[in-house]
């Protein structure tokens, strides 16, 4: 009896297994034609991250695109996942399964363009590069060719709580066009008078240093890729400001994104100096409506610095596979030239592009009640045009890993010169 039962049991397992293998394979069959992108113009695919932002923007572009023969599948992938997939696919030399259009963050783009120059298709002929903010062009081009179609701007602003700042004795005019030194002084005042921290920082994320540095048009590397940490005056000054902030207890430390969001949503910090994309997260806390405004980003206290900088932002790239012309045409006709599309983009999705002609449209003049009826989008689009151009090079994130370890020693009392020369030596060893 027992033996019979177990024989039946195994028969059942084998049957289930067979059924599942068949199911798995038939699933594959369905898409078998799709994945060999060689030679099928209809199956254009695009990879991007964030359903509410980039994916929504692509869908909107598809609606605006006046071409009935064009069909595109938009696939959502986390940004890190896109990086992983592209790296695996491109380094194995297998273009199978790669998308036609892919979104890449500007500060990462050069590492792809320089490592796999043949994998991308130059799209400079499909739109007019002069229509776009200057600072977007260097990171999206390589070797004289334009590879990326500039998408959203990471133009930064100094978001602040009007109630806390008023309590500390500051009006909006006092906060416009200030330097980071002044920002530190204001932070101390706010702490004294209201007891609130001025901003929230993650010690492992040096985004704020990049924001400070770019206001002078400088970066960790020069245009020809030479690492310049030692003797980099803007970086030195940025680090001094950073240490001032940390030493004076005006920073609420966070260790991940959710804590960062919580810091301002729960009213624990008086300001958020960050890219404009943080606005929806600030607006998520409806009870704080009317309590926020945005001033221009502080600048470093040196010649040539402007009150405008950038954090994040990404652009679209076309891979050098079949369907590239269709993909490039689609991008050129929508993201590359359609003013109307950009109005809807701002209104429906809240995404601010880097297409300059768009800023004169109606949607950009919108007065945002959450921010005290400020024309936030228009202000951002004006600051965007002033962002100094910087070549982000290949190793921004690699250099930053080295720097963030050194910065801890700087905060513990190591001299600034030693910190930078040590970081320089390490970076040169690693990225030779």
């Amino acid at each position: 009896m027992r033996e019979k039962l177990s024989a039946k049991f195994w028969l059942l397992i084998v049957a289930i297994l067979t059924a599942m293998v068949l199911a798995a394979c038939s699933g594959g069959d369905e898409d078998g034609g799709d994945e060999t992108t060689e030679g099928n113009a209809e199956g254009i695919t695009a990879w991007a991250w964030d359903v509410n932002f980039n994916i929504a923007a692509l869908e909107l572009a598809l609606e605006h695109y006046d071409n009935e023969d064009f069909d595109m599948e938009i696939i959502e992938n986390a940004q890190d996942d896109i990086v992983q997939r592209l790296n695996t696919g491109l380094s194995s030399g297998t273009m199978n399964g790669m998308p036609n259009i892919v979104l890449i963050e500007d500060q990462r783009a050069q590492s792809f363009l320089q490592s796999y120059p043949d994998a991308f298709y130059p799209i400079g002929d499909y739109f007019n590069t002069e229509d776009f903010a200057d600072y977007k062009l260097a990171p999206t081009s390589y070797d004289g060719e334009q590879y990326g179609l500039p998408f959203d701007t990471g133009v930064t602003g100094f978001f602040y709580r009007t109630d806390y700042l008023e309590e500390a004795g500051y009006t909006h005019d006092d906060l416009v066009d200030i330097t980071w030194n002044e920002y530190v002084e204001i932070a101390k005042d706010v702490k004294d008078k209201t007891g609130q921290a001025m901003l929230s920082l993650d010690p492992n994320d040096l985004g704020i240093l990049r924001v400070m540095m770019q206001s002078t048009g400088t970066w960790y590397t020069t245009e020809d890729g030479t690492i310049q940490l030692e003797g980099n005056e803007p970086l030195q000054m940025a680090l001094e400001n950073y240490k001032e902030l940390m030493d004076n207890d005006v920073v609420k430390l966070n260790s991940d994104w959710s804590q960062y969001l919580a810091a301002f949503n729960s009213g624990d910090v008086a300001s958020v100096p960050a890219g404009n994309w943080i606005a929806p997260s600030i607006e998520a806390e409806e009870s704080q409506a009317g309590l926020w405004r945005v001033a221009p980003t502080p600048r470093l206290d040196m010649e040539g610095a402007v009150n405008a900088s950038n954090q994040g932002g990404s652009s679209f790239y076309v891979l050098n596979i079949d369907g590239k012309e269709e993909a490039a045409e689609f991008l050129g006709e929508t993201f590359g030239s359609d003013v109307e599309f950009y109005q809807d983009l701002v209104q429906e999705i809240g995404a601010i592009g880097t297409f300059i002609p768009a800023s004169e449209g109606d949607a950009y003049q919108f007065e945002n009640e959450f921010f005290n009826n400020q024309q936030v989008v228009y202000d951002f689009s004006q600051w965007m045009e002033e962002i100094p151009q910087v070549d982000y090079g290949m190793n921004t994130y690699g250099i930053e890993d080295i720097l963030s370890a050194e910065i801890q020693q700087y905060l513990d009392g190591k001299s600034l010169e030693d910190v930078l020369s040590d970081a320089q030596a390490q970076a040169e060893n690693q990225f030779k």
Partner: protein, 275 residues
């Protein structure tokens, strides 16, 4: 004195229990709260569960992802157990000159991290895609094929087979059973606990596998649960309530498998220690 010792023992155990249970509790509570409340660290159950669930169903194809994960995990588990146990049984029961050398090489291969073989493996699947679309890139088969034969399970079964009485094999042979018959009718039923332990480990590994499915599965209808959760957390303004709901759904099957086989699992693990 004895009482005091007891108090401390229980105190320690309670603290340890709270520390290990807290993340699960937080996950369950957060599932019922709004994103803003989750980030603020609210620990009281809220009323947003239905809303979170609705958003999750609207925004993602979680049904398809669950199905894909199930198909991959079950096929992987069954094949892994079958192949791993056959190999482990063979290594232990049959005599052969070079078997220990072969076995040592096999065990050494456990030291190679997956990231090192990922790109060659991807090339391999890319190459065969044109000729064998059923197991090429972007098929579920490609997601489980490289994971079904692992040195770990061969090792695991060999160690456990040391407990298996050889006399049973002899008895089977005398009674005229074929070698396959001995394996399926004597070995398998006797080693039930080992199979249960291995099944849990194989199922969990496959269910949580992230890197390989990530690179090899590209179309949205092939997505597995870990990939879906990774997407949810990747927005500029992630909705933590929805993420927590998805994580709870993703945790349930492994929890279920574990509780169903818990008794065998502990026995099986003890077996491998003794071996």
């Amino acid at each position: 004195m004895k009482k005091l010792k007891r108090v401390f023992t229980y105190l320690f155990l309670s603290v340890a229990a709270i520390v290990s249970i807290f993340p699960f509790l937080w996950m369950l509570v957060s599932m019922t709260n709004k994103s803003v409340d989750v980030t603020a660290g609210r620990l009281i159950p809220g009323t947003h569960f239905i809303e979170n669930l609705k958003n999750l169903l609207d925004q993602t194809q979680i049904g398809i992802a669950l199905w894909n994960s199930f198909v991959i995990a079950i096929i992987t588990t069954v094949l892994t157990l079958l192949i791993g146990s056959l190999a482990g049984y063979g290594f232990e029961i049959f005599r052969s000159k070079g078997k220990d050398i072969v076995f040592n090489i096999l065990v050494l291969s456990m030291m190679i991290p997956f990231a090192a073989i990922m790109i060659p493996l991807y090339r391999l699947f890319g190459r065969i895609s044109a000729d064998a679309p059923l197991i090429g890139l972007d098929t579920l088969a490609a997601a489980f094929l490289p994971t079904i034969i692992t040195a770990f399970f061969i090792f695991f079964f060999r160690q456990n087979t040391k407990m298996f009485a050889r006399e049973l094999v002899e008895a089977g042979r005398i009674d005229g059973l074929s070698e396959w018959g001995i394996f399926f009718r004597i070995y398998m039923p006797t080693m039930k606990t080992t199979y249960a332990a291995a099944a849990i480990i194989a199922f969990m590994n496959s269910w949580n596998n992230y890197l390989w499915p990530l690179v090899v599965l590209q179309s949205p209808n092939k997505q597995t649960i870990p990939l879906l959760i990774s997407n949810l957390g990747a927005g500029y303004t992630p909705d933590y309530g929805v993420i927590m709901t998805a994580i709870v759904i993703a945790t349930l099957p492994t929890a279920l498998v574990f509780f169903l086989m818990q008794r065998h699992f502990v026995a099986g693990m003890m077996g491998s220690v003794k071996g």
